[in-house]
């Protein structure tokens, strides 16, 4: 199967909106407002933190909030001093900074970043563990969530997919991103 036709290609997976549980978008934004737009989205690897943060950005923009997004990951775990200097110099009191991957920053870098972003309207981060900022949402995964995502990607084929979603969910310990990557490989190898 060609990469562009694979239902588990990154482009298709990125189009899936985050499914909030126990709260809706309006209430989540109200919760953020009550915390002066400072908080953390917490969750394990592959639990949807980035997806949720991106969804939040899309909700904040139409409300006339200015959003500045930054991303760190294991391949790029820090920002260059030159980049940060320029970023902070352009930051103003109307900006809400969205930092994806805050856990990549060491203690000093994190404290420095938090201090420099004080002048902004808000700071929302994603991180693996609680403690960096007050938690606004905890991303959790379960079989039902994975099944919902599979149905969105491949429709009724999700019912009979092999290996089963439960099998892969358990294998990857709830990391839905890795489950979807394994399904990508299966489709690439066995489907035409």
């Amino acid at each position: 199967m060609k990469a562009k036709d694979n239902p588990f290609s990154v482009e298709r997976v990125l189009k899936i909106n985050y499914r909030l549980s126990d709260i809706d978008w309006d209430n989540l934004i109200q919760k953020l407002e009550a915390q002066q737009f400072r908080g953390a989205i917490v969750g394990q690897h592959g639990s949807g933190k980035t997806t949720l943060l991106e969804g939040l950005a899309k909700k904040l923009l139409p409300l006339n909030h200015s959003v500045k997004s930054l991303r760190l990951n294991s391949e790029k775990p820090n920002f260059s001093p030159e980049f940060l200097d320029k970023f902070f110099s352009l930051l103003n009191k109307n900006d809400i900074v969205l930092l994806d991957g805050a856990e990549q920053l060491n203690f000093i870098s994190w404290q420095y970043f938090k201090y420099k972003v004080k002048k902004a309207k808000g700071l929302i981060i994603t991180t693996h563990k609680e403690g960096q900022l007050p938690t606004i949402y905890n991303c959790k995964t379960n079989y039902q969530l994975l099944n919902d995502i599979l149905f969105e990607l491949i429709g009724s084929q999700a019912t009979n997919i092999k290996p089963s979603s439960k099998e892969l969910f358990d294998k990857h310990q709830g990391n839905i991103r890795d489950v979807l990557r394994e399904y990508y490989d299966i489709y690439a190898q066995f489907f035409h």
């Binding site: 199967m1 060609k2 990469a3 562009k4 694979n6 290609s9 990154v10 482009e11 990125l14 923009l61 139409p62 990557r181 990508y184 490989d185 690439a188 190898q189």
Partner: protein
């Protein structure tokens, strides 16, 4: 509603390297559209993170007009291709700011007008050169 129409005398969505690609974009103008661009770019699709390179772009100063013509000269590479892990796709995109609402149309670019299939060698001749 957004629409992009690409003109091609061959009536196909395939182009050769360094050919000119032109057409018309039309949309329903809305107040929140402050600025717009028509972009020529390629992107990858597959297992890894998407790569994108914008080759050329045209700014639309008055999105309220609801229509704009575009014309870009295609570069000589990269060619459109597909394998199991990655596909490279060419596209024309209309994007509005600040909300980044967008619409794109994909097309193929290669010396023989066909996407190079990395599964097979059908795109190569007996001298291992790209078939014309």
């Amino acid at each position: 509603m957004i629409n992009i129409t690409i003109s091609n005398p061959r009536n196909e969505m395939t182009f050769f390297p360094e050919e000119v690609i032109s057409g018309e974009a039309s949309w329903t103008a809305r107040g929140e559209h402050k600025k717009a661009e028509i972009r020529l770019f390629w992107y990858t699709q597959g297992k890894g993170d998407m790569d994108v390179e914008i080759i050329d772009k045209m700014e639309i100063t008055y999105p309220s007009l609801g229509k704009a013509n575009f014309k870009f000269k295609l570069p000589n590479a990269p060619y459109s291709f597909s394998g199991k892990l990655i596909s490279l796709i060419w596209a024309i995109e209309l994007i509005f700011f600040p909300n980044k609402e967008s619409f794109k149309v994909d097309f193929t670019m290669s010396p023989n007008g066909q996407e190079i299939n990395l599964y097979s060698n059908n795109h190569l001749d007996s001298n291992n050169q790209l078939k014309k």
